[in-house]
Symmetry: C2
Subunit: 298 residues, 2 copies
């Protein structure tokens, strides 16, 4: 397996292990994997793009809340609107310290998008991505996708893997940008999602979830529902990826250890790192294994 597939990866032992895995899975021999079984699943936040200082979808949520309290000033003394108006970072830091499930429930509680069509939601998401920039890099969030991961997608696709993203974040939020940003179709994006109904010839969003949160064990059930299989390869970066990684035959963990080019942190990933050695996960060092971090920057 040639390293030329992964130009943004240094040829370290981790990179070599990835190349070796793809080679053995696709070369006749005892480790050969039938193409039908070649499903690779990737977490999104912190695995496919930067999740600091807060996950992108949370930035979108804050904007939505701000617009909502602008349109309905009577909400101004209620949380989370009060905190949004007062730029109360402590309030949101506290929320983000909770589990992603709590954050999502907060979002869900809003029911902001219940009754809306996918076209309306997509327009709002598109606007967010074209108008909002990351505070540290001053670039659009879609430009902060990890270039090495895009190359890994290409390597896998060239070897007849089907590549999926499975995130605790919103399936429909990601699908808006999936095709341009990741080069995978919307049907390859799995995540927490509202249930929809069909009313007067239109798909319309309800205020409740379909199949629960794609988080922890929920990632495995969402992946199975979408694909009929558990993954051959899974890649994540945090504790909510533990079950997904355990359900895969080959596990990869992205380690945020580059305080100069990105961020260095282990918060929310303590347990999965403690499992990595026991389970033979490849722990990718962003600092040492990646020549460049983002698609459109150093």
């Amino acid at each position: 397996m040639s390293h030329h597939y992964l130009p943004s990866w240094n040829l370290t032992k981790n990179t070599q292990a990835i190349l070796d895995f793809v080679k053995s899975a696709t070369t006749p021999g005892e480790d050969y994997i039938d193409p039908a079984e070649r499903i690779a699943v990737f977490d999104n936040d912190g695995t496919m793009w930067c999740e600091q200082p807060m996950p992108t979808q949370f930035v979108f949520l804050l904007q939505t809340w701000l617009q909502e309290v602008h349109d309905h000033p009577e909400l101004k003394d209620k949380q989370p609107y009060k905190a949004v108006l007062q730029k109360d970072e402590k309030y949101f830091t506290q929320i983000l310290k909770q589990t992603p499930k709590d954050v999502m429930q907060l979002e869900q509680a809003l029911t902001v998008w219940a009754g809306s069509t996918p076209q309306e939601f997509a327009a709002q998401v598109q606007k967010f991505f074209t108008t909002t920039k990351h505070p540290k890099y001053n670039m659009h969030y879609t430009d902060l996708v990890y270039q090495p991961m895009l190359e890994l997608f290409d390597l896998l696709k060239a070897h007849n893997f089907r590549v999926f993203v499975c995130s605790a974040g919103g399936r429909d939020f990601m699908r808006v940008v999936a095709e341009d940003m990741w080069g995978i179709h919307q049907e390859n994006v799995i995540g927490t999602a509202a249930e929809y109904e069909y009313v007067n010839g239109q798909i319309v969003r309800t205020d409740h979830l379909l199949g629960g949160f794609a988080l922890g064990a929920g990632k495995t059930t969402h992946i199975f529902a979408a694909t009929g299989r558990l993954p051959l390869l899974a890649c994540g970066n945090g504790d909510p990826d533990i079950e997904m990684l355990q359900s895969a035959r080959f596990g990869m963990l992205i380690h945020h250890d580059d305080e100069v080019r990105e961020y260095a942190y282990d918060t929310g990933a303590e347990q999965v790192h403690s499992l990595a050695q026991k389970n033979n996960y490849i722990v990718v060092s962003m600092k040492h294994d990646w020549v460049k971090i983002f698609k459109n920057t150093a």
Copy 2:
């Protein structure tokens, strides 16, 4: 668009209309469709294979009930076991006259498969398909897939369509045979399905449905959840396909009018046929448009 893609289709005006549609959707011009939007969705029973004298999955269900009452003789005076034991055709004819939803609820009520793993269910389905033959043709059910539809799949795939099956029948029942029978991956099979949970490192079936029945309007919501889109092309054969056909830009209806080679009936398709002309659906005549019906017979 050459007719050589469809050797089991006579070159009628219907066949020509299909070829024209694929050509116009994939040739630069005003009807060109971006490849990302090229989603084609097919119903299963009566669209992809023979659904007479009863849908294949119902045959499987009868076998399961028979096994269940064999293992638990105390059930013998309860329905549906009593009818199974007495070969009470009238009882089942009555059930099949009801909506597919009633049939499925009956199946669901059994909770036969709650607590089982996908591997256990797949083994049971595989056994059914290798041991059970169709009463009229004396062939395995998987050999009774419609050859012209397989060729249509190939035509569409050759033009960068992604082909899906969406059935009111069981998603996991179809997925067992989808790859060999249809040449599409399990993730391209959409249908009514149980929710699963992840217990001790295993995917395990629960006794309740995920996202309701893939029937009528439920087909559109299942398709949207799976793909993020509504179909460009939809093809069905009965009234439960009405909403799916209405949600597509190009509609096809399979008409069972061949009493010699297959069956001739309009029961359960009265409404969709009355909409066909108004909505410009192509109504495929099995008798006149198809050179051969089944993959492995005349």
